[in-house]
Symmetry: C3
Subunit: 281 residues, 3 copies
């Protein structure tokens, strides 16, 4: 990925922006000179819907941070009210046969790269974070969220089943009983509820404060040996990562089989119609 | 199972009883016309001891609810002070060779059907709930309990080892540390203790209120796609369910070997004697 | 192991010391006549560093308690400020090829014996308890700690990766999210923090009180069938125990490969130098 020193999209009072990738337009990576922390910003208007392009850019950006010796990765959004609205329904509704395969494969890539990242990861959740948005957030090691937003894996409300590895991230954060109930209910948690149950770690009153708190979390690793840390994290997450690695092909086929069910397609169609109406009002 | 429209055994202020199975006498199933929720009542005096007959009726009733498109299943007891006293010791003391096999197999059937049920499940625990009673309660997704009763897996106090799948239900509800300690101690929790540790979800002051709270929990799934919900729940519980499915025969042999140990038989005999004395006083 | 009735090293107001092993000098086992509880004291000045000799003595002492029909095992330290400083770095720095194999094997033996012990186990943590010290404490079923000390698996701070079975003990005590974060950070918890998160169960104001509280915990099993209890505990811990049993040889080779890395040796050298300087001041 090419890099150029340009204006920092996410200027911060406490640091100076060193460099930023501009090879893609849907994500940006800005590394803070002072802290060495990379901020990865999703920037696909209007709602950071995870389509094939955004997923590929996300994957590339995570790999870039992995390779550029950053001290840590903060994931956030350029949108003031949406972290990410989750998977782009348009990729799943009446899908192109080749493209939907690439789409799901890219989603697998993103999760494997983010959940398995060797650098410390934190999410500055500066907006609503349903479904795939919650997946990204719970794949990080720390979560700071702004008030009055919602977060959760609400797949069952959309007539979809979250795959096992979506659940892995969720179950690594919440107690089993709470996780199972929320998954079955497709429950969205308010910021306050999410804090109480442990789905997020802190609340911040602004995006800047959220980024600061994430940086503080990453700062707790300052005196930790990076190699030992990385091997420790990967050992802890090995079971879930290995499971998807071993089942990538079957997982893809399972998804394709499910999404192509007439009932699921019908449900997605109704949901898209409701979104269009909402947009008009 | 035959069905007839008869008087509802469990009349409720908020609904009208639609139908009720009468094919068996040890359990009844009443489906509320308004809510579509089935209430499964155990009715084997004096203590809902889980013998072969009650287990078979329970299995049949759970399957019936599974098949009749109910919105959910509430498990409760017709006894005002006992939810279920657990496995009937008489089935295990000086057992008949064939009958004890059928007994354990029926217990496996009940757990597989209840823990793996596709409909939302809740237990209205209107009395004491030791051992097998606690297994039934923790195999549901939600638990509401009346005050001044006790619940727990107290097998070690009876000189018995709870099989792995008893522990599965328990471990899916409690944190590992608490679950392990309670299992080792054979600890019975009071209603208040159970609420504090998370073994139950709510306390109700009457059976009617407990049934209402269970119905409210089931109501949280009103806007959830039933198929997506069912697949989600089964995916979450697949590991434990599959484990018993794969080991049913070995699990049976393990139980038979254990229960036939002279020390275990002696312990059961002493326990039965103490129960008889208690009954006289 | 030879036994002789000698003065009790750990006299207690509430009991009389029955016997004590003296075959080793680095650990002592004293069984209380009244309670039947064995107190295993680590006694290798200056910091109970776990070298080959202490590990072998620990293993022998745990096996002795296992065999002598004790009602339970309390693990503690003769040092007034250190429970155990963890693995003795001198065993790992520029190691002798044969001795380091024996060292790691002895550590495996200790964990398998303690985590899998059939008797109730409790740790009276009367001093700092980093790394291997925390491993010993979390392998017991109950933890009572004195104020103003610290406990944790701080391996990543030393540039080391805790093996999977170190993590097993830790994960059996703490929620996954907290455990993972602490392991990545190599975090040491104060007594107060450890209590809050659940890493310890109680705080005691003196070693005597800690021993009493441990004895009270072991007393909760007074009315429990010992065989049923032991089988229950082992069934709960079987997965982790079996995993190491199956991988002992690979686990040893993995450790040897890791510890012999030049970067790790260099890190251990620097750490040893810093300890020497500290000792002089």
């Amino acid at each position: 990925m090419m890099r150029s020193k340009v204006l920092c999209l996410v200027p911060r009072a406490t640091g100076v922006c060193r460099h930023m990738s501009t090879a893609t337009k849907l994500t940006t990576v800005a590394v803070d000179d002072k802290t060495g922390i990379a901020t990865l910003t999703m920037n696909r208007p209007p709602v950071n819907g995870l389509n094939l392009d955004l997923l590929r850019d996300l994957h590339q950006s995570i790999e870039e941070v992995e390779g550029n010796k950053s001290r840590g990765l903060i994931l956030t959004s350029s949108n003031p009210t949406i972290f990410s609205a989750g998977l782009d329904i348009l990729e799943m509704y009446k899908p192109d046969k080749e493209r939907i395969r690439a789409f799901w494969t890219a989603l697998q890539d993103v999760w494997l790269a983010l959940y398995g990242s060797s650098v410390p990861t934190a999410a500055a959740i500066n907006g609503h974070s349903p479904a795939g948005g919650c997946l990204l957030a719970t794949s990080c090691e720390y979560r700071v969220m702004l008030p009055k937003f919602t977060i959760g894996l609400n797949e069952t409300k959309l007539g979809i089943v979250a795959p096992k590895w979506f659940m892995s991230s969720f179950l690594s954060v919440l107690p089993r009983r709470e996780a199972e109930r929320a998954l079955n209910q497709g429950r969205m948690f308010t910021t306050e509820e999410a804090l109480k149950i442990g789905l997020i770690d802190e609340v911040a009153i602004s995006k800047d404060q959220a980024l600061d708190k994430c940086a503080q979390f990453i700062g707790t690793f300052a005196k930790v040996n990076p190699l030992a840390r990385s091997l420790t994290k990967q050992q802890l997450r090995a079971v879930e990562l290995q499971q998807l690695e071993n089942e990538r092909a079957q997982d893809l086929e399972r998804f394709l089989f499910f999404v192509n069910q007439p009932a699921v397609q019908k449900g997605l169609g109704i949901y898209l119609e409701s979104l269009k109406k909402k947009a008009k009002n």
